[in-house]
């Protein structure tokens, strides 16, 4: 059972993700962050609930929409913000940016810009865990779009037949960029795919952090016991566009509003209040998240950039 203090930690994680991204969006508008990025706003319950079911020494693989995974796995938001601002103090020294954040020491094996490409890598990491007998588990995040790539099918099958300690967590936010899951799948639940690989599949409410936590916990335990992978589908929704160039022509305002009413943070806040947590405690956490992100911006702004000579030395080991 989760204690109140555990739940407050979860709440704080969700707040940090939300605040981090709202800030990143602001900085983008101000021209301090360039290129593009993919916001996780609305999906915070998935990363938070799932990562809470892990031990610190476990691993995750992430996606192009990876800020939430990174923070939920325990990353330092200062180094994340520095990465988004292209600074040498960032997790990837400013070479990777938003789409390629990796926190290898913290067990985040990296975000990817190629949809589906981290799924075989997660299987490989799980294979290493098995060979090294280190009792660790890999949690593999990917989206509904990735579930239709060849890499998904090849890797899930491989992990299933090798009984690897990996949990496949599909964040189904209903759209692969603009393409709706209704058109992309001929089955109602992506979790049904599990049957084809002989592993358990479960669909959970991705707007409810506790449901995600419970489902992931069970899957992680199975994996750790050597019983192989599980496919979890978390139904969720991104409140923002796919990327910064998205004009939002493929979904209605009503649909977006309906999902925003189901905001996972608001919902969990109400749950905590219902459990008797004083509102002041929650407000303190909200303020703390705000301060943490502000501090991250200061850190990033004051940080230096890498030189091309330094970058050149990083191409080969």
């Amino acid at each position: 059972m989760l204690s109140v203090s555990d739940k407050l930690k979860m709440y704080f994680t969700m707040l940090c993700i939300r605040r981090f991204e709202e800030k990143a969006e602001e900085l983008y508008m101000a021209g301090k962050i360039w290129g593009t990025f993919h916001l996780y706003i609305g999906e915070e319950a998935v990363a938070t609930g799932a990562c809470f079911a892990l031990r610190p020494e476990d691993y995750i693989t992430s996606t192009h929409r990876g800020h939430g995974h990174c923070i939920a796995k325990g990353a330092d938001v200062r180094k994340m913000m520095a990465e988004l601002m292209g600074k040498a103090t960032g997790y990837c020294l400013g070479l990777g940016g938003s789409m390629h954040i990796a926190d290898l020491e913290g067990g985040n094996l990296g975000a990817t810009g190629i949809v589906g490409s981290a799924i075989p890598i997660a299987a490989g990491a799980a294979l290493a865990c098995k060979l090294q007998k280190n009792n660790r588990v890999v949690l593999c995040f990917f989206g509904d779009g990735a579930a239709n790539t060849g890499e998904f099918h090849e890797a899930v099958n491989l992990a299933a037949v090798f009984r690897l300690p990996v949990v496949f967590l599909c964040e189904n936010n209903l759209y692969a960029m603009s393409f709706p899951v209704k058109k992309a799948f001929a089955i109602p639940d992506i979790a049904e795919r599990a049957k084809g690989y002989g592993i358990p599949g479960v669909t959970v409410d991705g707007m409810d952090v506790l449901s995600v936590y419970e489902a992931t916990k069970e899957a992680v335990e199975r994996a750790r016991k050597g019983e192989g992978p599980t496919l979890i589908e978390a139904r969720t929704y991104r409140f923002r566009g796919h990327s910064k160039s998205d004009k939002g022509v493929y979904r209605t305002k009503e649909e977006v509003r309906m999902w925003m009413e189901r905001c996972p943070i608001k919902r969990f806040r109400e749950h905590l209040l219902g459990e008797g947590v004083p509102e002041e405690t929650l407000r303190d956490l909200e303020k703390k998240a705000e301060e943490l992100v502000e501090e991250a911006v200061r850190f990033a702004e004051e940080s230096p950039e890498l030189t091309i000579e330094e970058a050149r030395r990083l191409v080969y080991a």
Partner: protein, 326 residues
Amino acid sequence: MPEREITYAEAIREALREEMRKDPSVFLIGEDIGVYGGAFGVTQGLLEEFGEERVIDTPISEAAIVGAAIGAALLGMRPVAEIMFFDFMTLCADQIVNQAAKIRFMFGGKAKVAIVVRSPAGSGTGAAGHHSGSLESWFTHVPGLKVVAPATPYDAKGLLKSAIRDDNPVIFVEHKLLYRVKGPVPEEEYVIPLGVGEVKRRGRDLTIVTYSLMVRRSLEAAEILSREGIDVEVVDVRTLRPLDEEVILESVRKTHRALVVYEPPRFGAFGAEIAALITEKAFDDLDAPVMRLGGLEMPPPYNPHLERRIAPQVEDIVAACRELVS
């Protein structure tokens, strides 16, 4: 009457529209090309005109997109596939390299694979390691494929129309930084044959051989150099395979100096093929060794100052030209 100017993206869209109107066997297939209008807006409005049967949005499945295009082509269709970023060409590389390029030959010349695979290449958008690649050289190494990389709206339209009508698989390399660039494109119909290069600027002192975005940068460099009395000729090969050797050799025989400019990492890229051609066939005409200016040997970095360094900029081209004539 002043000539009409449209963007490179609009020119590509016009070519698609015209060929689709003309030939019912032409259809488009790719990710987010329908209601979204393509990641860079190239196919905007085509779904409305041609409907879901001819502007086909797919799941994220690059191998299936190109494979399906090949299969349809075997039955006489002329599909144009869009791969959202050139980096994703790796995901359909089997279908392009092992299937599209070889099927005709392996099947004794009895099949044809009349497909076009369009894809935006190039760095300069802050999109880092997985969305900034210039991998066109890889495909120039494959007999059976044609590779086209236009630099202007006019060329983009005329070459794409030829590519769609061609009975072979054509890799059509678009450059992200060119999409919004405007240029003259006549209202009336025209095509530009594949495999024919063009002198984009006449000059006496040295020849720059290049393609795609680097044509534009080379022309800017030539302008700067002309003020210093260095008269640069710029040859745009336009089609990388088959290569118009004559337009290159003729220019070098006149100027006696050649600089090959290209965006991919310098080592082993297509520019080396051009340098080898000049050395083999115009060696006696050269007053200096052929010089190559390519990209740096590293994956595209995110940091914008570093990203700028990996691809040749106007000032790099200017410096290389000065060195070559000194």
